[in-house]
């Protein structure tokens, strides 16, 4: 399939753009594969891509219930960062940022990874100390981090209310300059095209309705709306629907709850915000997309939900927080809101593991943080499937860590999923 480049763009334009081929084939399912990945979202597609690229496993099918990229990879606030504090997380997310930095060229698809920086605001001396702790942990892990004072923050984000009489005056902030945003849909499409180019079958409109088991209970394939498909290994990467899909494999209970997270976009505007900023005295994160819309979000609604829509109290609180930060945004208009279903885990950290059944592999529990993890999640999950053992980077993301008390709790919020 043709490489994408400025030359192919010009060449095709001169021929009336009739020469373009589908970005990936609309594959029909074969009777069996070496590996089936359930879930054609960012993580599932990335897994298939890295299985092919890193491990030479190309007899792979990605099964998607709807359309590629229709889950959370297509409905998030597109933030990429690795500003984590705990070692279990920081090395993994940093690996992800490193993959992001090469991703467009690796995939030959412009995912528009824009390293415009991610700035977390602090509003009190103790909060500055907490950010210093995080920043220092990052630096020791080889991750870039800068602690800004109020003046530096004001210079970096000109419209931000940094006045000392603010309800929560800005004391400073933790900046990761290598963080930023990416074009969410392009990530799904780029991985889909990349995987397809290496021989992976991407099968849309194919819902997994059950799992095939052998006499010992090991998973040997899946039942789908498009028939039975056998496979040596089945990986599940369906954040938001993890409970439902795993129930079909006989796993009734998991350390995960599904919660709805709303996200918002304003009408398009000329450049007004050049970085990603998060408010520290209430949960809000905002950036401006290349199209010009302010993309922002806040807390989850805070109750179990599979509905991709939320309620007004969160909408109102998010708008209030945004205007507290940027009093000049009052006359800008909200264009669209949407809801995504988050796999909220019991410690706020994800699961990438072998099992819980022989032949089955699980990638789940991404809470709010799945988008930024997409490349590393796929990379690690591919490794875990290929080698039947986790890579060091995801060794801590086990399913049994909850029972054994080896949780990775960045917020220290305890086993309450809606508090993470």
């Amino acid at each position: 399939m043709a490489e994408y480049s400025v030359f192919s763009l010009i060449g095709n334009a001169l021929r009336g753009n009739r020469g373009w081929k589908p970005a990936w084939r609309a594959a029909a399912p074969k009777p069996d594969y070496d590996v089936i990945i359930v879930g054609g979202g960012g993580h599932g597609l990335a897994t298939a891509y890295y299985l092919a690229k890193e491990h030479g496993i190309t007899n792979v099918a990605v099964l998607e219930r709807g359309y590629v990229g229709g889950g959370n990879v297509g409905r998030n606030t597109t933030i990429v960062r690795s500003n984590y504090m705990l070692p279990g997380n920081s090395y993994f997310y940093e690996w992800s940022v490193k993959l992001w930095e090469e991703l467009s060229r690796d995939l030959n698809y412009n995912v528009m990874f824009s390293q415009r920086g991610v700035l977390n605001l602090a509003h009190s001396p103790p909060q500055m100390d907490a950010f210093a702790r995080r920043g220092n942990a990052m630096r020791l892990a080889g991750i870039d981090a800068d602690l800004l004072d109020t003046k530096q923050v004001a210079d970096f984000v000109p419209d931000l209310d940094c006045s000392p009489q603010a309800r929560f005056p800005v004391a400073g902030g933790l900046l990761q300059r290598r963080g930023g945003t990416a074009r969410h849909d392009a990530v799904a499409w780029g991985f889909a095209r990349g995987a397809d180019r290496r021989g992976v079958d991407i099968i849309e409109n194919c819902e997994v309705t059950g799992f095939l088991r052998d006499g010992d209970g090991a998973i040997t394939g899946v039942e789908t709306t498009r028939g039975e498909i056998r496979a040596g290994k089945v990986g599940v990467a369906v954040a938001g629907s993890t409970g439902e899909v795993m129930r079909r494999a006989g796993i009734d209970r998991l350390p995960i709850e599904s919660h709805v997270l709303q996200a918002f976009v304003s009408e398009p505007l000329k450049p007004v915000l050049d970085t990603v900023v998060t408010f520290g005295a209430g949960h809000l994160y905002v950036s401006q997309s290349d199209k010009g819309g302010l993309v922002f979000g806040g807390d989850i609604d805070g109750y179990n939900s599979y509905a991709q829509r939320g309620n007004l109290p969160v909408v109102e609180d998010v708008a209030s927080l945004l205007l507290t930060m940027f009093p000049n945004y009052g006359r800008l208009k909200l264009l669209r809101s949407w809801g995504g279903i988050m796999d909220m885990s019991m410690d706020g950290s994800p699961i990438i593991t072998t099992g819980p059944l022989p032949g089955l592999y699980l990638n789940a529990g991404w809470c709010y943080g799945g988008f930024k993890a997409t490349p590393a999640s796929g990379w690690c999950f591919a490794w875990t499937i290929a080698k039947d053992a986790p890579h060091d980077l995801n060794a801590a993301y086990t399913l049994d860590r909850f029972h054994t008390a080896r949780v990775i709790d960045e917020r220290g919020a305890g086993p309450v999923p809606w508090h993470h």
């Binding site: 892990a141 392009a186 009408e267 010009g292 009093p327 009052g330 208009k333």
Partner: protein, 998 residues
């Protein structure tokens, strides 16, 4: 020719009230009642805006909310609103309108060069390039792309206007005051139910404004006006004009925005700009109407290309002719009716083309009587420029929109099209009901209701006037019944009969005689062309969502109200499938853009979160304290004397406490009154250390764990009576602890007779610490303060400064110390009383930093160490964990991860460099600063210790207690520090606690 004001007509304007405003700095005049669009149209303006990508000229397309093109900035400075729709903005004198997304001017826009490169800038081109030559190249290209994109510019100044929020309750909410909505409201009002009728426009009636049939012998717009007036006069009805119901949320809660002063020249100070309404309705009638859809053709984006109904609406409502010669093109009877009505209103109509083989003869004849060229089986296949529309090409077209022959050029300056009406099913869909596509009728219809709503009128596919009114009345009656009222009798107005409509044709796009050179714009604002849709199809982006996301079709500020359907039908045709099989994207709130200010209301800024102040707050602020936030509270950090640094201030304070006496405001501590015969049993279960046998008149320090065995909170509980404790919690956890305890009593131990009351705000608390504390307190209380009468951990009730109070002998500082509690209203009196009583002992107030210093010197833990990841053993508090009794968290306390080696545990650190060991520093084994490496732990609390005359700190260190004596470095690369420290026992000062027992 361009638009002008007609001699007659204009139901919404006042011809005697001229209004002057400016557009791009030039004065323009309009009339009271005009929108910015109608006034600009009347004054001959054709290009109002530039498109998103190619910066093509854009004119006015519609006459309402669905406008995709005529976006302008209204107002100046902090009041500048970008991306306002000229078609809904009501005119007032002095209004300042500015065009956007153009440089240097609207008529000469440099970026329009993009249009020449459109073959390269097809759908998704940016995914295929801008990837090199270097890794970070995108950041470079992005800069230019961002500047070219976007539409209006955000103001740099704060919005000075006020927004308010209200919650409204009603039995029946009716959304939309068109024919069906008014009829529903009239019916519902008769029941006596509380009715709210909300409509987005200033004047009621919706499309009745462009209706030529009479209702109750009145012009339809008059009937609308008088019906609304009747309703408004009814006590049980509230009519809300200029109110857009934008969102349908769970349990029939709807979000709406009332635009209160946007249309006023003088904006009265007592009124907000917008009011956000949360409307709670028992039942809802959705009479949201329908959006006319264009019939797309080559060159359809030229200024002068309009929706047919909009041309008529400008004529009838505003007395404005959009142009001198209008050519119509459509697929149904309405195109003829609209053309005829325009002609009757005095507008020059050049031609009518109908794609159907046999348009009704009566309509054709009527048109010909006006001298209008009438063509069947034909459509406008091209609008010609240059710039705006100068002529149109009409040709015979096949059933699927191919150009057959007979191309005829007709001079026209307005090209008005219509391919029928699409029900506005936004709110229905938001309420969880997916709309279904009716192939027969070629429209989307509301799905089965999941919330309590009834659809009526054109949003329900009921287009005829009398049918819509009848359906509205039925809906109104059913809605009041659903709300528990008796269904009122029906009383319908007399409506002039509808014409018997003939079968419309389902066609949204006609091809161009120019073949691939054609520019057929599906989404005009975003410059998505039919070629882009075809490209998306070619590249496999064929599902509705992929089409939308790949081409950005329908993602502009109008959210595709007049473009989604055409795009969808084109994709269906390319896929050779029905539209129903291709599907529709989900409608999401808001239905139309909503000002963020209105969603924020009064909360942004000072009121974003409640601010809690202790009774002594003002005293602190007036006496040199720097206040700092602690959760919702403000607490004094230190009391500064002239010229002091923070460190000098807190060291002085801490030293004075150890030497003499100091007081600190501890009112923020959580306080829970625990009462009932089982109070002691209850506390014995929730604390990890024994509480069953605490004697009355004694306090005990308690440790609380979470279910998972990790530390939750700590504090003292005072036994005031056999059946009563006063529990104190940390400031941060006051709420969570209360909630957890209530949860336990409700769910786990309903048999325990215990009642909890939060009394945090009821008491002011003052800790008095230092060797002279006893003597000072003795001067203001009637309690016997002697060591014998009032031992360590004792609790006594008595008077404090003549007021009732409680005193407990507790020490956080390691000194002889007490906590004095008085009812909050006596807090300041007690505070000042203590200061006065201790003046001869040099009593001082001290702040959080000194409080921290004193407790760090003692090795006491606080919030920084109880961070949700530590266990009692980690913090050296194993002795507080009972081996004998059962308590919350015990079962999970010994899980492998909580008892294994390498856990971070509490240690003390002493600086070996005479430098501060800053909080957040990571502990490393290398002397070399700034290098990545392993962290062995981190610093949680620090101070300069006046007692030790050294910088000390508390830290959590891997296997900490085993490493006393080791030398480490506190690495603080983000602040540039690297301090040599020695690890030691955290009990720095007076480890055996002799000072507090004196």
């Amino acid at each position: 020719m361009s638009g002008y004001r007609l001699k007659t007509g204009g139901s919404l304007i006042d011809r005697d009230a001229p209004v002057s405003f400016t557009f791009d700095g030039k004065p323009v005049s309009g009339l009271q009642g005009d929108t910015v669009a109608s006034a600009l149209l009347a004054s001959g303006h054709r290009t109002l805006a530039r498109s998103f990508k190619y910066h093509r000229r854009r004119g006015i397309v519609s006459c309402g909310t669905e406008e995709s093109n005529a976006l302008i900035t209204i107002g100046e400075g902090g009041r500048a609103e970008p991306n306002a729709r000229a078609t809904t903005a009501e005119l007032y004198t002095g209004l300042v309108a500015t065009s956007q997304n153009r440089w240097p001017s609207l008529n000469f826009d440099v970026m329009s060069v993009n249009g020449l490169l459109s073959p390269f800038f097809g759908a998704g081109f940016y995914y295929k390039t801008f990837m090199g030559p270097t890794r970070g190249a995108w950041h470079f290209y992005e800069h230019f792309i961002r500047r070219a994109a976007g539409m209006g510019a955000a103001s740099k100044q704060a919005d000075p206007d006020r927004y308010e929020k209200t919650t409204l309750f009603c039995d029946v909410l009716i959304v939309g005051a068109g024919a069906a909505g008014l009829s529903a409201a009239l019916a519902a009002a008769r029941s006596g139910a509380r009715v709210i009728l909300a409509d987005e426009n200033a004047a009621p009636g919706g499309w009745l404004q462009a209706e030529t049939r009479k209702i109750d012998d009145m012009p339809a717009s008059d009937w609308a006006k008088s019906s609304a007036a009747t309703l408004d006069a009814s006590e049980n009805v509230r009519v809300l004009p200029r109110t857009t119901v934008y969102g349908y949320y769970d349990q029939n809660q709807l979000g709406a925005i009332e635009r209160v002063t946007d249309h006023l020249l003088v904006k009265p100070g007592h009124l907000p700009r917008h009011r956000h309404l949360t409307i709670r309705a028992t039942s809802v009638v959705l009479a949201t109407g329908a959006f006319e859809q264009p019939l797309l053709h080559d060159g359809n984006d030229r200024p002068g290309g309009m929706l047919a109904g909009a041309v008529l609406r400008y004529a009838l409502s505003y007395g404005v002719a959009a142009g001198g010669r209008v050519a119509f093109s459509g697929t149904h009877d309405g195109i003829w009716e609209t053309a005829l009505a325009c002609a009757e209103a005095g507008i020059g109509v050049a031609a009518v083309a109908d794609t159907r083989r046999d348009p009704p003869a009566d309509l054709v004849a009527a048109c010909e009587k006006f001298g209008i060229k009438a063509r069947a089986r034909a459509a406008i296949v091209r609008a010609d420029g240059p710039g705006h529309v100068h002529a149109v090409e009409i040709a015979e077209v096949s059933r699927d929109g191919r150009v057959m022959n007979g191309i005829e050029k007709v001079n026209a300056d307005i090209c008005a099209t219509s391919s029928g009406w699409m029900p506005a099913v936004h709110l229905h869909s938001q309420a969880g009901s997916r709309p279904g596509y009716d192939e027969e009728r070629g429209i989307f219809l509301p799905g089965t209701p999941r919330e309590d709503w009834i659809a009526a009128g054109s949003c329900n596919g009921t287009f005829g006037l009398s049918a819509a009114i009848a359906e509205g009345a039925t809906a109104g009656r059913e809605a009041v019944k659903a709300a528990g009222f008796r269904r009122p009798r029906a009383a319908l107005p007399v409506v002039e009969a509808d014409r018997e409509a003939s079968e419309p044709m389902h066609l949204r796009i006609v091809e161009s005689p120019r073949g691939t050179k054609a520019k057929i714009f599906v989404d005009q604002q975003h410059d998505v062309t039919a070629s882009d849709v075809k490209l998306a199809h070619r590249e496999g982006f064929r599902s509705v969502e992929h089409l939308k996301r790949y081409t950005t079709l329908g993602m502009a500020t109008d959210q595709g109200k007049t473009s989604n359907v055409a795009g969808l039908s084109l994709m269906a045709k390319l896929r050779d499938q029905n539209i129903a099989d291709v599907g529709t994207t989900t409608f999401r709130a808001p239905y139309a853009p909503v000002a963020l200010g209105a969603l924020g209301g009064r909360e942004p800024g000072a009121h974003i979160r409640p601010l809690r102040k202790t009774p002594m707050h003002d005293w602190h602020a007036e006496n040199g304290a720097e206040m700092m936030p602690a959760g919702a509270w403000m607490r004094p950090r230190a009391y500064f004397k002239a010229g002091e640094t923070l460190e000098q201030a807190y060291v002085r304070e801490a030293r004075m406490v150890r030497q003499s006496v100091g007081i600190v405001d501890v009112s923020t501590l959580g306080k829970i009154d625990v009462q009932g015969p089982d109070a002691a049993t209850f506390l014995n279960r929730v604390y990890s250390n024994p509480f069953a046998k605490v004697p009355v008149g004694k306090a005990r320090y308690g440790l609380m764990l979470r279910d998972d065995g990790l530390l939750f909170d700590d504090g003292t509980s005072w036994r005031l009576a056999e059946d009563r404790f006063l529990m104190t919690t940390t400031t941060a956890n006051a709420g969570p602890v209360m909630q957890f305890l209530e949860f336990l009593l409700a769910t786990a131990w309903p048999d325990l007779k215990v009642h909890l009351t939060s009394v945090t705000d009821a008491w002011a608390g003052i800790a008095v610490a230092g060797p002279n504390s006893r003597d000072v307190i003795a001067r203001i209380t009637d309690i016997d303060m002697s060591n014998e009468a009032f031992p360590f951990m004792g609790v006594r009730e008595g008077t404090v400064c003549g007021n009732p109070g409680m005193i407990a002998r507790l020490s956080f500082s390691g000194e002889l110390a007490y906590e004095v509690y008085v009812p909050a209203r006596f807090g300041l009196a007690a505070w000042e009383g203590l200061l006065a009583a201790g003046r001869d002992r040099d009593i001082i107030p001290y702040g959080m930093e000194a409080l921290g210093t004193l407790r760090i010197e003692k090795g006491h833990v606080a919030g920084a160490e109880l961070d949700g990841r530590t266990t009692a053993e980690d913090l050296g508090l194993s002795g507080m964990v009972s081996k004998k009794k059962d308590f919350i968290g015990k079962a999970m306390l010994n899980r492998p991860g909580l008892v294994e080696d390498k856990r971070l545990k509490l240690v003390g650190l002493k600086s070996e460099d005479s430098a501060s060991i800053r909080i957040g520093s990571q502990l490393v084994q290398t002397e070399e600063a700034g290098k990545p490496g392993k962290s062995h732990g981190h610093v949680t609390s620090n101070c300069y210790s006046p007692a030790l005359e050294a910088y000390i700190a508390l830290a959590l260190l891997e296997d900490g207690p085993e490493r006393h004596g080791e030398t480490l470095w506190a690495a603080d690369p983000v602040r540039g520090g690297h301090v040599k420290v020695s690890v030691r026992d955290p009990h720095f000062f007076d480890p055996d606690g002799s000072r507090m027992h004196v």
